[in-house]
């Protein structure tokens, strides 16, 4: 029962208290990383965690803008999860978006193609699920900066799309997990796109390099901000967790600062 072994990330996300209903249900999760410290591994871990959780109703809709299916399949195989088998079981839907390019402004007005069509595809996929699975769908996006590229640099289109995905979380109880790169917006005086997505977010996971510089046995630190976190007693508040991590061949080690010799 490997998935029962809890780690600090699970704890920070509240995955340790219950598996049904799925703790991330109806929530929007944003993973933020930078060139020095990639946050892809968090997405992979969450993908594996969602598919291998106790609840058999969890379904994942994966929008891949950066890698083909074979890439994720290889990684998830190492983590002990077979994506192809899950796809055949109807629990994993892979949308290859590598070649998506939104139509020009004029063509876009007709509503055909681009993000409108993508949203329709997602909504139809969710609505076609069996009744029990409808409220357990997770939409994953890798990654948002490439969505902007696909939208020919128009962040408004991406925000519209994100807004519609957000309506799915509140109306159908889906969850939305996205990855974005923080340093892309570092030179901007007012990174409106970044701020606006942060307003939508319930859980923010930040992957950063160590403040003290590079180290051989620590790859970086994760800061998890969990808004409206509910603990066992039922009281809710914001929760911030901070810990270090080391990415290994087929697992990730999480530990508190200073607990490694």
């Amino acid at each position: 029962m490997e998935n029962r072994a809890l780690n600090l990330l699970d704890e920070a996300l509240g995955l340790d208290y219950q598996t049904d209903p799925w703790p991330l249900r109806g929530k929007v999760v944003l993973i933020e990383d930078c060139v020095e410290t990639s946050g892809c591994f968090v997405l992979h871990q969450l993908l594996k965690r969602t598919l291998s959780s106790q609840s058999p109703n969890n379904t994942v809709i994966f929008l891949a803008f950066s890698h083909p299916l074979s890439h994720y399949d290889r990684i998830l195989r190492k983590l002990g999860c077979n994506l192809v088998a899950q796809r055949e079981n109807g629990r994993f839907f892979f949308f290859d978006m590598l070649k998506l390019l939104c139509p020009d402004e004029k063509e876009g007005k007709t509503g055909k193609g681009g993000f409108t069509a993508l949203y329709w595809k997602i909504q139809n996929t969710i609505c076609a699920l069996p009744e029990n699975n409808k409220n357990h769908a997770t939409i994953m996006i890798d990654d948002m900066s490439l969505m902007e590229v696909a939208a020919r640099g128009s962040s408004d289109h991406v925000l519209d799309f994100m807004h519609y995905c957000h309506t799915l979380t509140s109306e159908l109880g889906c969850s939305l997990i996205t990855l974005n790169h923080e340093d892309i917006y570092a030179s901007m005086e007012r990174p409106t796109f970044m701020l606006q997505t942060k307003y939508l977010v319930d859980v923010l996971i930040k992957a950063e390099p160590l403040a003290t510089g590079l180290a051989a046995d620590v790859h970086g630190q994760l800061t998890v901000l969990n808004r409206d976190f509910c603990n066992v007693k039922g009281s809710s508040k914001n929760k911030i967790s901070n810990f270090h991590f080391k990415v290994k061949e087929n697992s990730v080690e999480y530990f508190y600062p200073g607990t490694r010799t």
């Binding site: 509503g111 139809n124 519209d160 519609y164 403040a211 800061t223």
Partner: protein, 240 residues
């Protein structure tokens, strides 16, 4: 009355239903229950929808109504402003607007602040909400930033007790000079203790702390030292 601009602001869901590809009846029904605005970009239509809803409350009377706007950072702020000015003339008695000020340009928020009579920032405590005036928002921002960024495991802040302790430390006299009388550092003695009378050395009589300010040279006579008024030439034994 609620005008729903959240569920389908661009009419995507509506188009999907129209196209006939969409078959989920229950979901469709839930959408059609509330009054939904399907194109927020068409502000004139949005405006007339609001008026229609407001008038619907009273019939055709002359009563006024209030509008509360919960915006998630609407992109067409400039046009919204123009509409807002128009609203002032009409039947709307007051407008409450929740605005994310960091999403908009400073000029937009300040124009809105000119238009508004009350503008408040707030922060949320564990159990209740505290309202503060807008001017102290910067302080709040600092507080929030400090709270959210636990980056190092070392304690970089001073506690209240530590701050008081630091204020009491007497600096060496050349680092003083902020207008107050200069105090000479005496190790092991803090500022408050320095005010009491102290006795120094064996041959010198007691000296009050106030005298420190006059710049006297304080010299402690050792028992081995010769008396300063001795007639003997101290360099006699030198063979030059």
């Amino acid at each position: 009355m609620i005008l729903d601009c959240y569920s389908d602001p661009l009419g995507w869901k509506d188009q999907l239903m129209m196209s006939g590809n969409f078959t989920d009846v229950s979901y469709e029904a839930s959408l059609s229950l509330s009054c939904v605005c399907r194109n927020v970009k068409d502000l004139d239509k949005l405006y007339s929808l609001i008026l229609e809803l407001g008038k619907g409350l009273f019939g055709q009377g002359k009563d006024c109504f209030s509008v509360a706007i919960d915006s998630d950072g609407s992109k067409d702020m400039d046009m919204m402003l123009a509409i807002l000015l128009e609203w002032h003339q009409e039947q709307i008695s007051s407008i409450f607007w929740l605005l994310h000020s960091d999403l908009h340009e400073v000029k937009v928020t300040s124009v809105l602040e000119y238009l508004s009579y009350v503008s408040e920032g707030f922060h949320i405590d564990q159990s209740d909400i505290n309202f503060t005036s807008v001017s102290s928002e910067d302080e709040l921002f600092n507080q929030i930033n400090q709270g959210l960024l636990p980056k190092v495991q070392f304690n970089l802040d001073l506690s209240e007790k530590e701050c008081i302790g630091r204020a009491r430390v007497v600096l060496s006299f050349d680092l003083q000079g902020n207008g107050k009388p200069i105090q000479i550092h005496d190790s092991g003695r803090s500022l408050a203790e320095g005010k009491t009378e102290v006795t120094l050395g064996s041959s010198w009589t007691s000296q009050k702390a106030e005298d420190y300010g006059e710049g006297d040279i304080i010299y402690f006579l050792d028992s081995d030292d010769e008396m300063p008024d001795s007639d003997e030439d101290s360099d006699d034994d030198l063979d030059v």
